[in-house]
C-alpha cells in the first residue's frame, strides 16, 4: 500500500456551505497531532455537489480516494485508519455511480484537482503553456484561424462563433481596444461560471490574454456578479499572481504585447448579461441595451472596439491552443463542437456541475450522469436555458443537446442551467416564476418587454389563482409572439420562451387550471386544500401543534379536523404527519 502524501478538501461555495472549512481545520489539527508529513490542499469544485463536503486522500503513487459527506467526526477515523495505517475507510468512500464516466472534461479539467489560489498548481497542469506558445510562435491571425477551425461557439447562450467574433474586433483599426470577460452569470439555476472562476481562475485569465493578443487589445475587464464574493477574491489573487509572474502587464514574457485586467463588480441587474447593457454598466450608467449595429466590435466600451466573451468560452481557449483545433472539434456534433458545462439541479439525485460532449441526449444526462430523479418520482420535463429558455418534456428527452436540436424544441441552449422537474412540479407555476423574473428584470426601455411581460405575468398569476378564463391561453400566445418580435435585446426576445414551450407541451395543465379549476401537481394553493383522513389519524395532535394559524382542532370522534376557512394551505401539517393521514385534494 502506497503512502498517503496529500489530503485535499473541496472549498468552493457549495463545499464551504456544507461545512468544508471545519473539515479542513479538523484534518489539519489531526494530522499535526500525529505529526504526519502530509500536505493539505484546498481545491475547487469537482462537481459532485450532492456529496459535499468532499475530501480526497492521495497516495504517493497518485491514487485518489474520495470521501463524501465528510463531517468533522469522521476525520479522526480517516486519519488513523487510512493516513496512518493505509486502510481506506470503505463505508465513507463514495461509491462509483457513473457521474464521471460519461463526462469529457476540457473546461473543468483542473476543477477540484488544483488549489485555485496557487499559480504553480495551475502551471503544474500545463497552465500558461498555451500563452507561452502563442506569444513565441503564433501570429494573432493564426490564433483566430485556429479558434475558427475549432468550431467553438459562445457559451453564454447565443452561440455565436467565437473565432468570427474575434476577427471582427481584430480587423478594427487603432491601438485602443477592449477585451471583456462576461462573468455576470444571472440565469437562476446556473452556476457554471462561478465554479470555473472559483476552481480554476487562471484558466480564464490565460484565455483572456490569448484573446486580447489575437484582437490586439491592451485592456481587459472581468464583469463579475457581486453575489460571487469567493470568485472575486480568487480572481483578484490570480490577477496579482499572474502579474508577478510576468503573464500580465507590460511586455508579457518578453514579447511586444502588453495587457492588463481590471475587475468590475456588477450591481445586480440580469439585463447586464446583454453585451451593450454590460458596456453601459462598466461605463457607470444604468444597464440599458442599445440598438446594434454598431456592434461592440466596432464601437463598444467608450466607443472603442470591444470583444466580449463568456467565462466558459474563454476557459476553452488554452485547451484548444494546447491540443489543437482538430482535437477539440473531434468532440461534439457537426454544428456544435466541443463540450458544454451544465449546472444540474432540481429534482435530481446527483445535482452538481457536469461537462459533456455536445450531442449527448437529455435522457443520458438525467439518468446516467444525474442518477435519475429523487425519490424515484416521475420525470416530467427539464428546464433549459433559464428565463430565456424553455421546458422540454420528458417524451422529447432523447433530443441531443446541441444548438440546433435544442432550438428546434422551442427552448435555447442558454448558458447551461439544467433544472430537472418531476410530477410534483406545476408547469404553469414554473412559467409564472420565470415571467416574474423577466418582468422584474426588464430594463423598461422597450414597451413590449416592459408592459408585455407584466401582462403575461398577471395572466399567469390569475390562472394559478384559479381565476383563469378560456381565452387566457390564446391571449398569452399572441402577446408572447409580440414581445418576442418587438423587443430590442435578448432579454425581451427570449422572455416569452417559457410561456410558448409550456403552452406547446403542457396545454393540459393550463386547461386543468382554467377549466377544471385544479392543479394536477398540487402546487397552486388556490386550487388545493388539505384534509385529514379520520381513519388514518391517530389523534397525536402533531399537526395541531405545528399549524401556525390554529386551523386544526379536535373533530367529532378520535381525530383532528382542519377548518378550511382558517387554513392558509402552508402544508406544514402535511409535512409533520407521521401517519400520512393528511391528503392534498
Amino acid at each position: 500500500m502506497s503512502r498517503v502524501t496529500e489530503v485535499w478538501v473541496g472549498v468552493a461555495t457549495c463545499g464551504v456551505a456544507a461545512g468544508a472549512e471545519l473539515v479542513y481545520s479538523t484534518f489539519e489539527s489531526s494530522l499535526a497531532k500525529h505529526n504526519l508529513p502530509v500536505t493539505m490542499k484546498r481545491v475547487g469544485c469537482i462537481g459532485m455537489c450532492y456529496n459535499e463536503p468532499l475530501v480526497d486522500v492521495v497516495t504517493a503513487d497518485e491514487n485518489r480516494f474520495t470521501y463524501g459527506h465528510v463531517c468533522p467526526e469522521d476525520v479522526g477515523r480517516i486519519v488513523t485508519e487510512h493516513v496512518l495505517n493505509g486502510r481506506p475507510v470503505n463505508e465513507l468512500l463514495i461509491p462509483a455511480d457513473g457521474f464521471f464516466e460519461h463526462q469529457v472534461r476540457i473546461v473543468l479539467e483542473n476543477c477540484g484537482l488544483i488549489d485555485p489560489e496557487v499559480l504553480e498548481e495551475y502551471q503544474g497542469h500545463d497552465g500558461y503553456k498555451a500563452l507561452q506558445r502563442v506569444l513565441s510562435e503564433v501570429t494573432p491571425v493564426e490564433v483566430i484561424e485556429e479558434i475558427k477551425l475549432s468550431g467553438l461557439r459562445g457559451r453564454g447562450g447565443a452561440g455565436f462563433p467565437t473565432g468570427v467574433k474575434w476577427d471582427f474586433a481584430a480587423r478594427e483599426p487603432g491601438p485602443e481596444k477592449f477585451l471583456v470577460c462576461n462573468a455576470d452569470e444571472g440565469d437562476p439555476g446556473a452556476f457554471m461560471d462561478r465554479s470555473i472562476l472559483e476552481g480554476d481562475p487562471h484558466r480564464v485569465i490565460e484565455g483572456m490574454i490569448i484573446a486580447a493578443y489575437a484582437i490586439g487589445a491592451p485592456h481587459g475587464y472581468i464583469y463579475v456578479r457581486a453575489e460571487y464574493p469567493m470568485a472575486i477574491k480568487r480572481l483578484n489573487k490570480a490577477i496579482a499572481a499572474a502579474g508577478r509572474a510576468g503573464f500580465l502587464g507590460e511586455n508579457i514574457l518578453g514579447s511586444a504585447f502588453s495587457f492588463e485586467i481590471k475587475i468590475k463588480t456588477g450591481a445586480g441587474a440580469f439585463v447586464c448579461g446583454e453585451e451593450t447593457a454590460l458596456i453601459a454598466s462598466i461605463e457607470g450608467k444604468r444597464g440599458t441595451p442599445r440598438r446594434r449595429p454598431p456592434y461592440p466590435a466596432v464601437s463598444g466600451l467608450w466607443g472603442k472596439p470591444t470583444n466580449i466573451n463568456n467565462v466558459e468560452t474563454l476557459a476553452n481557449i488554452p485547451w484548444i491552443i494546447r491540443h489543437g483545433a482538430k482535437e477539440f472539434a473531434h468532440y461534439g456534433t457537426e454544428d456544435s463542437r466541443g463540450t458544454k458545462v451544465f449546472a444540474l439541479a432540481g429534482k435530481i439525485n446527483h445535482s452538481g456541475l457536469i461537462e459533456v460532449p455536445m450531442g449527448m441526449s437529455i435522457n443520458k444526462i438525467v439518468f446516467d450522469i444525474g442518477g435519475g430523479l429523487r425519490e424515484n418520482k416521475e420525470f416530467k420535463a427539464v428546464q433549459i436555458g433559464g428565463p430565456s429558455g424553455g421546458c422540454i418534456p420528458a417524451r422529447l428527452a432523447d433530443v441531443p443537446v446541441d444548438y440546433k436540436s435544442i432550438t428546434q424544441t422551442g427552448a435555447i441552449m442558454g448558458s447551461g442551467g439544467l433544472i430537472v422537474l418531476d410530477e410534483d412540479t406545476c408547469m404553469v407555476d414554473v412559467t409564472r416564476f420565470f415571467l416574474d423574473f423577466t418582468q422584474k428584470e426588464s430594463c423598461g426601455k422597450c414597451t413590449f418587454c416592459r408592459i408585455g411581460t407584466k401582462r403575461m405575468l398577471e395572466t399567469l398569476t390569475r390562472i394559478c389563482d384559479g381565476e383563469g378564463v378560456p381565452e387566457d391561453v390564446d391571449n398569452l400566445i399572441e402577446l408572447a409572439n409580440k414581445v418576442r418580435v418587438y423587443s430590442l435585446c435578448g432579454l425581451g426576445q427570449t422572455a416569452p420562451n417559457p410561456v410558448l414551450t409550456t403552452v406547446k407541451y403542457f396545454r393540459n395543465e393550463y386547461d386543468a387550471h382554467i377549466i377544471d379549476k385544479s392543479c394536477p401537481a398540487h402546487v397552486c394553493r388556490a386550487l388545493i386544500h388539505y384534509e385529514i383522513d379520520p381513519s388514518a389519524c391517530k389523534n397525536c395532535r402533531l399537526c395541531t401543534k405545528q399549524c401556525p394559524v390554529q386551523a386544526i382542532s379536535q373533530g367529532k370522534g378520535d381525530h383532528q379536523e382542519i377548518d378550511q376557512s382558517i387554513c392558509i394551505k402552508c402544508g406544514q401539517c402535511y409535512e409533520v404527519c407521521p401517519f400520512g393521514a393528511i391528503a392534498i385534494q
Binding site: 456551505a17 437562476p188 439555476g189 468590475k264 450591481a267 457607470g284 444604468r286 432540481g346 416564476f433 406544514q572
Partner: protein, 164 residues
C-alpha cells in the same frame, strides 16, 4: 441630539477617503456607490450627493443608477441581511414556504427590517448554489438544504450571538 460640527466633519472626511479610492469621473459612479454601501450598509441622500459632485455626474443620474441596480439600498438595513434565494432550483424545492416561514418568524415582509434592527429580509435571484436548494445567505455565509426547523436554529444562533 443634533450632530456636532466635528462629527459632521469626521463623517465627510471618512467619505472623502472612500471617494478618493476611485478616479473622479462618471465611470466611477457604480464602484463608488458600492464602496459607500459596503462601508455604511446603505447610501444616504447626503452621500449620494457627494458621489454626484465627486464623479462630475448630475445627481439625478446617480439616483437613477442607484435605483436601477438591485444591489443598492437607500435606507439603513438591519445588522444582518438575510437573502433568501428565489432561483429556479430553490423555487421548485420549496423556497416560497421557507420565505413565508422567515416572514412569520421575523415578523417582517421581504425588504423590511425587524423592529430591533437586527435582520433585514431580502430575496435574491439565485445564489448559484442550486445543489444546496433551498438556500439563503446571511452576510457572506451560505446556508443550504433549508427546512423550517433549520431556519429556526440558524436565526436563533444569530439572536443568541447578539445577546452575548
Amino acid at each position: 441630539m443634533p450632530h456636532s460640527n466635528s462629527s459632521i466633519t469626521g463623517m465627510s472626511n471618512e467619505v472623502d477617503e472612500l471617494l478618493h479610492l476611485f478616479a473622479p469621473f462618471p465611470a466611477s459612479v457604480i464602484p463608488l456607490l458600492q464602496e459607500i454601501q459596503a462601508h455604511y450598509g446603505y447610501i444616504s441622500e447626503a452621500n449620494l450627493t457627494r458621489v454626484a459632485t465627486y464623479a462630475h455626474t448630475p445627481e439625478s443620474t446617480v439616483y437613477s443608477v442607484a435605483t436601477f441596480y438591485s444591489q443598492f439600498r437607500l435606507t439603513r438595513p438591519g445588522r444582518y441581511s438575510i437573502r433568501i434565494c428565489q432561483g429556479t432550483a430553490c423555487h421548485v424545492l420549496g423556497a416560497n414556504s421557507i420565505c413565508e416561514h422567515l416572514e412569520e418568524q421575523l415578523g417582517v415582509k421581504v425588504d423590511e427590517t425587524t423592529g430591533d434592527g437586527l435582520f433585514t429580509l431580502e430575496s435574491v435571484r439565485c445564489l448559484g448554489c442550486c445543489s444546496l436548494a433551498p438556500a439563503m445567505m446571511i452576510g457572506d455565509k451560505i446556508y443550504g438544504r433549508l427546512t423550517r426547523g433549520k431556519v429556526d436554529t440558524i436565526i436563533g444562533a444569530y439572536r443568541n450571538r447578539e445577546e452575548e
